[in-house]
């Protein structure tokens, strides 16, 4: 046997579960999972690694009707983070869907953010530019495993 340098896999999963706090600014109201939301953004937005929190600037709006609500949709979170091999991962447990929706402009990104923690940003996922007219936009999630999950820490 020999020692091997590594970031512990259990720690990666625990990061996703909010167990560790290296800073002093974390205030948690309880032990339940936070509420995460998903918001769509138009192609002219500039979301990315530098995004720190949800903002309605450049968020998709309704070209007609009320199919999209500012702030987006609540992410279904019925599957706790887990790990396989040395990778910790998490994926929403259901698709995101907006119905009877008309987008005022084309959109190509979804921001996942934590509405419990002051709307802090989690991740930005881009896709091919889309527009919706009086229709349904469904965003289905990748397989929840160590190779494909929506969020992975390896």
């Amino acid at each position: 046997l020999a020692n091997s340098q590594a970031m512990c896999t259990s720690f990666k999963t625990e990061l996703l579960n909010g167990i560790h706090a290296f800073g002093t600014s974390v205030v948690r109201a309880g032990t339940g999972a936070d509420t995460f939301k998903a918001a769509l953004f138009v192609t002219t937005a500039s979301l990315g690694a530098g995004t720190t929190a949800y903002s309605s600037t450049n968020e998709v709006t309704n070209g007609s009707g009320t199919g999209y609500t500012a702030g987006g949709a609540t992410v279904t979170n019925a599957t706790a983070p887990t790990s396989s091999g040395t990778t910790a991962y998490w994926t929403p447990s259901a698709s995101l869907q907006w119905t009877s929706f008309t987008s005022a402009a084309a959109f190509d990104a979804v921001l996942i953010y934590n509405s419990t923690q002051s709307n802090k940003a989690v991740s930005v996922h881009t896709f091919g530019s889309q527009s919706i007219t009086a229709g349904t936009f469904t965003l289905t999630m990748p397989t929840n495993d160590s190779s494909n999950a929506l969020l992975r820490i390896a």
């Binding site: 340098q5 590594a6 970031m7 990666k12 070209g63 007609s64 009707g65 991962y89 994926t91 119905t99 009877s100 008309t102 991740s123 996922h125 896709f127 091919g128 889309q130 527009s131 919706i132 007219t133 009086a134 229709g135 349904t136 936009f137 469904t138 965003l139 289905t140 999630m141 990748p142 190779s147 494909n148 999950a149 929506l150 969020l151 992975r152 820490i153 390896a154």
Partner: protein, 86 residues
């Protein structure tokens, strides 16, 4: 889901169109149109990142209904490494 919206069937991987009426926007106004009077076009694409299928109803040159099914194939990977003291 409303019966005036196309439904994507995961088993057959095909769109099931509404039987009679479809939700539409014409000249900025929401309304329901008879599917019989519209051209229905289905398309999509696939690459390493996504699989997309869409259905459109067209009235002349105008798209009066468009629904999209977007599947994200892969999420984001953050790689964590522990520094060595060596």
């Amino acid at each position: 889901m409303s019966t005036t919206q196309p439904k994507f069937d995961d088993a057959s991987m095909q769109w099931i169109p509404p039987a009679l009426l479809v939700d539409a926007v014409v000249d900025g106004q929401a309304r329901q149109l008879s599917v019989g009077g519209l051209e229905c076009v289905v398309g999509g694409h696939e690459n390493d990142d996504e699989w997309v299928s869409w259905i459109e109803y067209r009235q002349g040159e105008s798209v009066v209904h468009r629904s999209v099914r977007m599947h994200l194939k892969k999420g984001l990977l953050a790689e964590g490494a522990a520094a060595s003291f060596a």
